[in-house]
């Protein structure tokens, strides 16, 4: 992949082969191609470290899901497939707008670039807003792990309309207690994902600010492009989280 970006940039840079060094070429690189090649490779390596970070969480999830499957099913039934589904669509759409942003940056269309970046940011905010609503509901039902965690929805599903709708049977207390692990992982994994989104949105604000100054519409689009990789990565993590957390036993 880094090679193909290099080729792409190589073709672009060929236009001003004999002109002055572009201002964004750092002193220690021989050429724009080498710089693009190196920084693109670095970005992919960085994403690899992110994959390893989330892999740790996925391993923990996989083990406990295998051990405590009934509790994970009951816990999963407490999550709203509708809200999760809407959020998935929102996030995929934001990836589309992000990809378009890169496309417009490469074609040096400043206003279209700005529009796409702002849309991406707004979609991110909506996603986090919906996520916040879901978290709020969990806190209210005492499904946040810790001292206040309540087993009511699992040992006595009749008391909880969500559990009734899912057709849950009452769980024995020791099984029901394991739902706490499900919610612990739910909060840890979606929380880590949300944290990555917040960091991404912080960067996005910076990029919008710089894009208004025309920084990315002069041919040097790398930063937008690499941010796009990051944004897609965060999106992909969600694509895994959604079925693993929301859709257990709902096929």
């Amino acid at each position: 992949m880094s090679d193909s970006t290099a080729v792409e940039h190589g073709a672009e840079a060929g236009g001003h082969a004999h002109s002055e060094h572009p201002h964004y070429l750092l002193h220690h690189f021989e050429s724009v191609e080498q710089q693009a090649d190196a920084s693109g490779f670095a970005m992919w390596l960085f994403l690899l470290t992110e994959v390893m970070f989330f892999s740790g969480l996925f391993v923990v999830y996989m083990i406990y899901r295998n051990w405590y499957y009934p509790a994970f099913v009951a816990g999963s039934h407490q999550l709203s497939v509708l809200l999760g589904g809407v959020n998935s669509v929102i996030l995929i759409t934001s990836s589309l707008t992000m990809a378009l942003a890169v496309w417009f940056a490469e074609r040096r269309k400043k206003n279209a670039l700005l529009a796409c970046l702002v849309t991406t940011l707004l979609l991110g905010i909506v996603f986090l807003g919906i996520k916040g609503l879901e978290y709020k509901e969990k806190f209210e039902k005492h499904h946040f792990p810790g001292a206040t965690f309540s087993l009511e929805s699992f040992v006595n599903p009749a008391s909880d309309p969500v559990a009734v709708a899912a057709g849950d049977k009452p769980l024995p207390v020791d099984t029901a207690q394991r739902t706490e692990l499900f919610f612990a992982l739910y909060f840890a994994m979606t929380g880590m994902h949300a944290l990555h989104m917040i960091i991404g949105m912080g960067l996005l604000v910076f990029i919008i600010y710089r894009a208004r100054q025309g920084a990315y519409t002069t041919g040097h689009t790398q930063f937008v492009e690499y941010f796009g990789y990051y944004w897609h990565f965060v999106d992909i993590i969600w694509i895994f989280l959604f079925p693993l957390l929301y859709l257990i036993n709902r096929h």
């Binding site: 190196a38 390893m52 892999s55 740790g56 923990v60 406990y64």
Partner: protein, 554 residues
């Protein structure tokens, strides 16, 4: 037979080049905001020396407490905090960044003929993260400390202690990013920044070793990060992932932790092995025997290193079949390590060996690392492991690898490249003495601990039965000698900055590209971008170069 290969310029006329990376810019800000890999290497060197002596002072306290069987110098829980801090500081703030941070930053770009690392800003950021992590650790230490051991074993760290676990964890998390940035930077640099003609199999073995270590840093460190995050969440919110009362499993923490921390010992040792390859070749005037095998053994260590982590848990209730598999894999790691040792030995064979200080350290490395590595096999065999684990045997084993191996390699590297870094030679006689003192002190300190371990003295206790005292007294005495061995280089290396003899470009007649430029180097490393037209360690090429120079001057 000449007894030395050192060739210095005529001291009456030689001068340090006026324009070099040290003199190009001045002032404190030119250092703190520098993007020059050489200056960042120096920053790392100074700061990690600082952390080394903090960790060393803590080690001194440990040995002093163990002089007597009772817990008398400090209370038992203070002792716990002291050995925890010794471990945390030494591992995360000295051993992991030592060779890559100081020597790797400085020399890796020069060795491949590049002007700088691929991502200079990220390189500087890695030093700042390292400092932030280090200072936060010291903060945690002076505001109450942490007493879990450097392994943060659950459920001890999550449920049973009330010390600065989260602060220290955060510090390690931050330092982990520093390590990731360094590793990432090295990988990108080695792939994309090599000079024309510098093919993969012309790279110095130091570069190969750092490449392998970088892979481990990039793949392993994030897993440590997630383990630390989960411990912090467990402590802060009681999420139950490591809590048996909630269905969690404390052993899972060990899996995550050792998935990083076992490869981490290879992060620590591999760059050291790279240094040894350079030194052995230079001071026996021969190409490293079996270059390809040594290069690939680094990569093999990196790959195997990821599949042996569970040997830290043989007594902790993992399944017998897992023990079998991990035991086998652990013994397999000994193979590439042995390949290195044998190849270095064959490099020495019929070489013109001279005994300058770096070479003495390198010999020390070979002996001590071999002992450390072999005892590692004892611990990899589950039968003996059950007897020996959590005793002083294991303490001795990893100190032989880490201190006897890695620290010797680090000192070998510092002496070897000191003339290039500063433009001046260190004083030879006293540094040879320091190397010998270190070797003697080291053996006196840690060899008795093998015996203590087989006798069954457990690690991590402030007191012990009186019959173990004599060996502990030996060990403490050795630690004192070792301390002198480490203090001496600091003194004479600082002295040499002003009074050392002018080194010239290539005092060792070494073949690496870093020696084919002025000392100290220019900010951009090479006056003319180099083209690599010969194999690594090609001493004939070097002879021809010299002959050509003489001819052209004549």
């Amino acid at each position: 037979m000449s007894s030395t290969i050192v060739s210095l310029p005529d001291q009456s006329t030689a001068r340090i080049p006026k324009d070099n990376y040290l003199t190009r810019e001045n002032g404190i800000l030119s250092w703190l905001l520098t993007r020059d890999h050489k200056r960042i290497g120096i920053l790392y060197l100074i700061s990690m020396t600082f952390f080394f002596f903090i960790g060393g002072a803590l080690a001194g306290l440990i040995r002093l407490e163990l002089l007597t069987p009772q817990s008398d110098l400090m209370a038992a829980d203070t002792y716990n905090k002291v050995f925890t801090m010794h471990g945390v500081v030494m591992i995360f703030f000295f051993l992991v960044p030592s060779v890559p941070g100081a020597l790797g930053n400085f020399f890796l770009p020069m060795m491949i003929g590049a002007k700088d690392l691929a991502l200079p800003k990220m390189n500087l950021a890695s030093w700042y993260l390292y400092m932030a992590g280090g200072l936060l650790t010291l903060w945690a230490m002076i505001t109450g400390g942490v007493d879990t051991g450097w392994t943060f074993t659950t459920p001890l760290s999550t449920h049973y202690v009330n010390t600065n676990v989260i602060t220290t964890g955060l510090a390690i998390f931050i330092a982990g990013f520093s390590s990731i940035f360094t590793g990432l930077n090295f990988i990108v640099t080695i792939h994309k920044m090599r000079a024309p003609g510098m093919t993969w199999f012309r790279l110095p073995l130091f570069v190969w070793a750092n490449y392998a270590a970088s892979i481990l840093m990039v793949l392993g460190t994030p897993v440590l990060a997630v383990a630390i995050v989960l411990v912090a969440l467990e402590r802060a919110f009681g999420i139950g992932v490591f809590d048996p009362t909630k269905g969690g499993d404390p052993l899972l923490f060990q899996h995550l932790f050792w998935f990083y921390s076992h490869p981490a010992v290879y992060i620590m040792i591999l760059p050291g092995m790279g240094v040894i390859s350079e030194v052995i070749s230079t001071f026996s005037r021969k190409r490293v025997f079996g270059y390809t095998a040594v290069a690939f053994s680094s990569v093999a260590i990196a790959v195997f290193g990821f599949f042996v982590w569970a040997h830290h848990m043989f007594i902790m209730g993992i399944s017998n079949y897992a023990v079998l598999v991990f035991s086998l894999l652990t013994m397999l790691v000994a193979v590439p390590s042995a390949i290195k040792i044998f190849n270095w030995a064959f490099t020495l064979y019929k070489g013109s060996i001279t005994f300058e200080t770096p070479m003495i350290y390198a010999f020390g490395f070979m002996g001590l690392f071999t002992i450390g590595g072999m005892t590692g096999v004892f611990l990899g065999v589950s039968g003996t492991d059950i007897h020996l684990t959590e005793t002083y045997f294991i303490v001795a084993h990893f100190h032989f690898v880490m201190v006897g191996g890695m620290l010797m390699a680090f000192l070998a590297g510092i002496h070897f490249w000191w003339p290039k870094m500063t433009g001046r030679m260190y004083p030879e006689k006293i540094s040879q003495l320091a190397a010998v003192i270190t070797f003697i002190g080291f053996n006196l300190t840690f060899f008795p601990q093998f015996i203590l371990g087989t006798l069954g003295m457990p690690r991590r206790y402030a007191s012990y039965p009186p019959e173990f005292q004599i060996l502990n007294v030996f060990s403490t005495a050795g630690a004192t000698i070792l301390g002198v061995g480490y203090l001496l280089p600091v003194l004479y290396l600082v002295w040499s900055l002003k009074y050392g003899r002018i080194a010239g470009d290539n005092p060792w007649q070494a073949t690496g590209l870093e020696w084919q430029t002025q000392s100290p180097p220019l900010t951009e490393n090479f006056a003319v971008p180099p083209i690599m037209d010969h194999e690594a360690y090609d001493y004939e090429w070097l002879e021809n170069q010299k002959a050509k120079e003489v001819a052209s001057v004549g």
